[in-house]
């Protein structure tokens, strides 16, 4: 099966079983909307998918190969935007993006970065320390990675947090285009995805005691 497959994942946090024997596949051209109440393990699942934490049992497969074996090539094909933005407040938006691109081995073209930031409504704020920006603007800086790095897999944890309606529409449109270009996205969101985001599959996690 092409794509990122989860095979019988079980996650235990603080001695509580969050989910067990969870299997699904995220294929190119697919958008999975991960839903569930607080504490159901959405963030834990996304972190397991990225490889940041390990499942209690079960494994991940990328194109039918164990993910552990192809971790480096998977990382090149992955953008993760988590709860924590991964943006340093003392650096400017441009610096943050430049260093992030350097770390991820992506060519950084300043012109392109200015364009992306402009599209995200951050004109004139490119060289201000990010700490001075509003929460929504900081989120936009974090999300601008989705425009700067070419990657098949997007793993997004509450990407719409703090965004205004314009921002949400912008991001949903970009997600739809990405899926249309054979991208694969798994995202959580406390508000339902709108039509802008295009067709999606739902994956629901229940809260378990």
């Amino acid at each position: 099966m092409a794509g990122l497959a989860a095979d019988n994942l079980t996650c235990i946090k603080r001695d509580r079983v969050l989910f067990s024997d969870l299997s699904f596949c995220l294929s190119p051209g697919q958008l999975i909307y991960l839903r569930g109440p607080n504490g159901a393990g959405k963030t834990s699942l996304l972190r397991i998918l990225t490889g940041l934490s390990a499942p209690e049992s079960g494994q991940l497969l990328l194109n039918d190969e164990s993910l552990d074996k192809v971790r480096d090539s998977f990382n090149q094909q992955l953008i993760y935007v988590g709860h924590k933005a991964g943006i340093n407040g003392a650096l400017t938006a441009m610096e943050n993006l430049r260093f992030w691109c350097a770390q991820h081995g992506t060519d950084f073209i300043a012109q392109r970065a200015y364009e992306v930031l402009a599209r995200l409504g951050l004109v004139g704020l490119e060289d201000v320390p990010v700490r001075m920006l509003s929460a929504g603007q900081q989120r936009r800086v974090a999300l601008s990675r989705l425009w700067l790095k070419q990657a098949t897999y997007w793993i997004l944890d509450e990407p719409f947090t703090a965004l205004d309606t314009d921002g949400i529409e912008l991001l949903e449109t970009h997600m739809r285009e990405h899926v249309a270009n054979q991208g694969a996205i798994i995202t959580t969101s406390h508000q339902p995805l709108s039509k802008q985001a295009g067709p999606f599959t739902e994956l629901v996690l229940e809260y378990r005691l």
């Binding site: 946090k13 603080r14 001695d15 509580r16 079983v17």
Partner: protein
């Protein structure tokens, strides 16, 4: 080669192993400890220089030796846990930590008590006492680090790393302190350095050493049982176990 060990990575199997091993450690341990102590304290001959006060070696020496060995055992458990990702290995490690700290404290205390008649003061910065003190700090660090984490699985791994850092340091600390001591105290010869020991003194010492080792193993196994139960209490096998234990009680 080590394949036969792997089933014990499962908490349930590890628990059963603990239950099986406990009596083999506990009773011989207590027996040797009592026998060694009585023989050493009451029947072994007096030291011609130190009189009766030397008899504290029957407690001091075993605890000093085993304080170091327990730390090494902890580090081995941590290494096993990190390399093979066994959760039970970290449980074993953390089961040993407070025991090791107590044994280290006993070694320090008896060392100080021995120092009183020998040196006329409770504490001198003797090389071995100083190493023991630093070892106690290392134990306390591991325990404190373990306690600082909410998530005990994470706590075990973190404490394991620290135990490994410590074990690399234990020999360095030991030799550096010994060297520091000779540097600062010049020609004074350590009272602990005995050229040889009479066999009638050595035998009770060895028995006490064996007894304490077995006793530490027994307490480790008991603590590990508790740790496994505490961490796995929501698993079906623990519930079965509890039901059976309760059933037995009712039967009695």
């Amino acid at each position: 080669m080590w394949k036969w060990l792997h089933p014990y990575a499962k908490p349930e199997r590890a628990y059963q192993l603990c239950v099986t091993l406990q009596p083999y450690f506990l009773w011989p341990g207590i027996l040797c400890l009592v026998a060694g102590s009585i023989w050493g304290l009451a029947f072994a001959p007096q030291d011609y220089q130190q009189g009766d006060s030397f008899r504290i070696i029957y407690i001091h020496v075993p605890s000093a030796i085993l304080s170091m060995s327990t730390y090494v055992a902890m580090a081995v458990a941590a290494l096993v846990g990190i390399v093979w990702q066994w959760r039970t290995a970290f449980m074993a490690m953390i089961a040993m930590a407070p025991i090791g700290a107590v044994v280290t404290f006993i070694a320090l205390f008896t060392g100080a008590a021995w120092g009183k008649p020998m040196w006329g003061t409770w504490w001198v910065w003797d090389a071995r006492l100083t190493s023991e003190l630093i070892l106690l700090f290392l134990y306390l660090g591991v325990i404190a680090l373990y306690g600082a984490f909410e998530d005990k699985q994470q706590a075990g791994k973190a404490a394991g790393v620290m135990a490994l850092v410590g074990v690399v340091n234990v020999p360095i600390i030991h030799y550096s302190v010994e060297w520091w001591n000779t540097l600062h105290q010049g020609a004074t010869i350590s009272k602990f350095d005995k050229p040889s020991i009479a066999p009638e003194m050595l035998w009770p010492l060895l028995i006490a050493l064996l007894g304490l080792a077995l006793f530490i193993a027994a307490v480790t196994v008991m603590r590990m049982k508790n740790e496994i139960i505490r961490r796995e209490y929501h698993r079906p096998w623990v519930k079965d176990l509890a039901a059976r234990a309760l059933g037995d009680d009712h039967a009695v």
